[in-house]
């Protein structure tokens, strides 16, 4: 193993010493040991798929944020920060915080009180099997494909940064994840996500600290960026979005506020089961409501270790970085900005910690995907459609096998992508097709008791198909970018925002129209599922500083202050 990891190739970005390798090896040993230790506790379905529903708000909250904080997320957004400047921070602030607070304060009570095990499970209770099956099947397929795409992308990064063999990276990390998730289920996944959270922070925080020392603080960094890239604005968040032409992303503020903040972020953070599953593991409803709000404070701080290094790279790196496509020999891509900064400041030991943080992020992301896949497959596809009334132990076994089978399919996807690289873009786009309409379907179902079974299904289907249609048209003919994204200058991220917005609007319109034409469910079938028929626990008798709504408001206040500071 060490021989495979030994890095001496002159083309790699960094070179690991013995102490770095020991640090990486210790991480692998520890996660496997934790997996084997937790196996004895994952005996029932609720243990294996929902970690016994006994996590504290802090553990569930850190796992909630951490499941999203994969290494590709870190590398990709650090690269985006280099490319687009501080505009990329919108995906961590307005593109996350309001949605997390909304999940905690408004939506979590319905998920929790209904005792659902998954988001498709909620759709099953609220609408019936059609909407649930559509959501479950698309989620299961997309999750596993995404896992494979991420697996391949990470293996490529490891090859570029460290010179590791691609096959070695894919198999060793996948087998490790497979063993510990199949053993301990969601217990293992959550434990390792919390470990990863600490690793990422302690592995990456030195970059902004030393970067600020080198540049002489924020103003020194901004001055250097202006000196290196005159006439370009990389350090303001809202000012450059008055028109599509004023910023490198080609986006208008309406795209960020309505497309990202109101739809895509809401869709991801409140209905993507990969993250919602972590909150469902909370031990009581107050913990379930607090978990995403605790997570929101940490999410707000992530730009410190992701966006700031990207900006610092503009100020201190002696070379310019370029898009990954069309790189010439000796050039580096945007996505290599974090490893480049790591190599700039970190010697033996610290380098191992930083690389372990990236590997841990990758493995935790994969564990999140396979644990969510195993739950949705077992509870939302296998149990309702294949074998209805089996003993609990049977479903636990199915979950364990699903974890391993899911990983094997992911590995297959990784090799498929290796041979047909263009598939990667399409798989990533596919995942986005389902999130925005799903938010419309879930939210309408929670807030309006009149919405009917047929409306839930047809609204979701129409929203998804409209998203696919817009994506296809924009790829085939650039003229459609002006139509859907409101400007021919709109780049990929800007197109995604408007596509999400219109697909959600389509879903809502179709849902409302079909609702008005069809017969609603009787009230007694909707108790605990919709706002008007659910007795939500009130917190008048709780001290103010224990109330989720107070902390949610505090998170939103900090968000507003940050927007003003970096306007």
């Amino acid at each position: 193993m060490i021989a495979m990891m030994a890095v001496g190739a002159p083309t790699t970005l960094v070179h690991l010493s013995k102490v770095d390798l020991v640090i990486i090896a210790f991480y692998f040993l520890l996660v496997l040991a934790i997996g084997f230790y937790l196996k004895r506790f994952a005996k029932t379905g609720e243990d294996f798929f929902l970690a016994g529903r006994e996590m504290t708000a802090w553990v569930a909250g850190l796992a909630f944020v951490s499941a999203n904080l994969g290494s590709l997320e870190l590398l990709g957004w650090a690269g985006s920060a280099y490319q687009y400047g501080i505009l990329a921070a919108h995906w961590y602030w307005i593109g996350a915080i309001p949605a997390m607070v909304f999940l905690g304060v408004v939506m979590m009570p319905f998920y929790y009180i209904s005792k659902t095990h998954s988001v498709p499970g909620y759709l099953q209770l609220r609408y019936g099997s059609e909407a649930s099956a559509l959501s479950a099947v698309t989620f299961a397929i997309m999750t596993i494909l995404m896992s494979g795409v991420n697996m391949y992308a990470m293996a490529v990064v490891m090859k570029v940064v460290l010179g590791w063999d691609i096959n070695f990276s894919i198999w060793v990390s996948s087998l490790t994840v497979g063993i510990y998730v199949a053993a301990g289920g969601l217990f293992s996944a959550i434990f390792n996500e919390v470990l990863q959270f600490f690793l990422i922070w302690f592995g990456a925080l030195l970059i902004p600290i030393l970067g600020m020392v080198e540049t002489g603080g924020w103003h020194g960094m901004v001055a250097r960026i202006h000196q290196n890239f005159p006439g370009q604005d990389f350090t303001h968040m809202w000012g450059p979005m008055r028109s599509f032409a004023d910023n490198p992303m080609g986006i208008h503020w309406t795209g960020i506020v309505f497309g990202l903040g109101a739809v895509q972020a809401m869709g991801y953070w409140t209905t993507d089961f990969l993250v919602v599953q972590r909150v469902l593991s909370a031990r009581d409803i107050r913990s379930a409501k607090m978990a995403p709000i605790i997570g929101s404070f940490f999410k707000m701080a992530v730009p410190l270790i992701v966006i700031l290094p990207g900006l610092l790279a503009r100020a201190v790196l002696p070379m310019h970085l370029f898009p990954a496509s069309g790189l010439e020999a000796g050039q580096h891509s945007y996505n290599e900005v974090l490893p480049l900064m790591l190599a700039r400041y970190c010697g033996p030991g610290l380098l191992g910690l930083g690389i372990t943080a990236l590997v841990a992020g990758f493995m935790a992301g994969m564990a999140g995907n396979v644990s969510a896949f195993a739950t949705v497959w077992t509870y939302d596809i296998y149990r309702p459609f294949i074998r209805k009334a089996a003993p609990d132990q049977h479903y636990v076994s199915m979950g364990r096998w699903c974890t391993l089978i899911g990983l094997i399919v992911s590995i297959g996807t990784a090799y498929l992508v290796m041979n047909f690289a263009s598939i990667m873009d399409y798989v990533q786009a596919l995942f986005g097709f389902f999130i925005a309409p799903l938010f419309g379907t879930v939210l309408l179902g929670m807030l309006w008791k009149r919405v009917t079974r047929a409306a839930g299904f047809w609204g979701l289907l129409a929203g998804t198909l409209s998203s696919v249609g817009m994506f296809t048209l924009m790829k085939l003919d650039h003229h459609w970018v002006s139509v859907f994204a409101l400007s021919p200058r709109a780049q990929g991220l800007a197109q995604d925002m408007y596509q999400a917005l219109w697909s959600c609007v389509t879903c809502v319109v179709v849902t409302v129209l079909v609702t008005l034409l069809t017969k609603p469910k009787p009230d007694h079938e909707l108790k605990g599922l919709v706002y008007a028929l659910t007795e939500v626990v009130h917190e008048e008798h709780t001290r103010w500083f224990h109330r989720p709504v107070v902390w949610g408001a505090a998170a939103l206040l900090v968000l507003v202050v940050l927007q003003i500071i970096f306007w």
Binding site: I23, L30, E54, V59, I190, F198, C346, G347
Partner: protein, 71 residues
Amino acid sequence: MSERHHIIPIWFFVGLLLLVYGFLILVSGLAEWSHPPATVLANLHAPVWWGGLLVVLGLVYCVKYYPRRES
């Protein structure tokens, strides 16, 4: 963390990880004190104080959350 299962708290594992990593990084930083690596700001000896910080935090977590038998 768990009332039903009596699982060793996750915070103990976090402490163990920080302690081991802190120790390795601190020792590595001390060993290279007189001949630091060719990184920017190597004169600040980041591995020494960062490793020291990890050791302290790791110790705090390990001691506070050390798994004790239920009486």
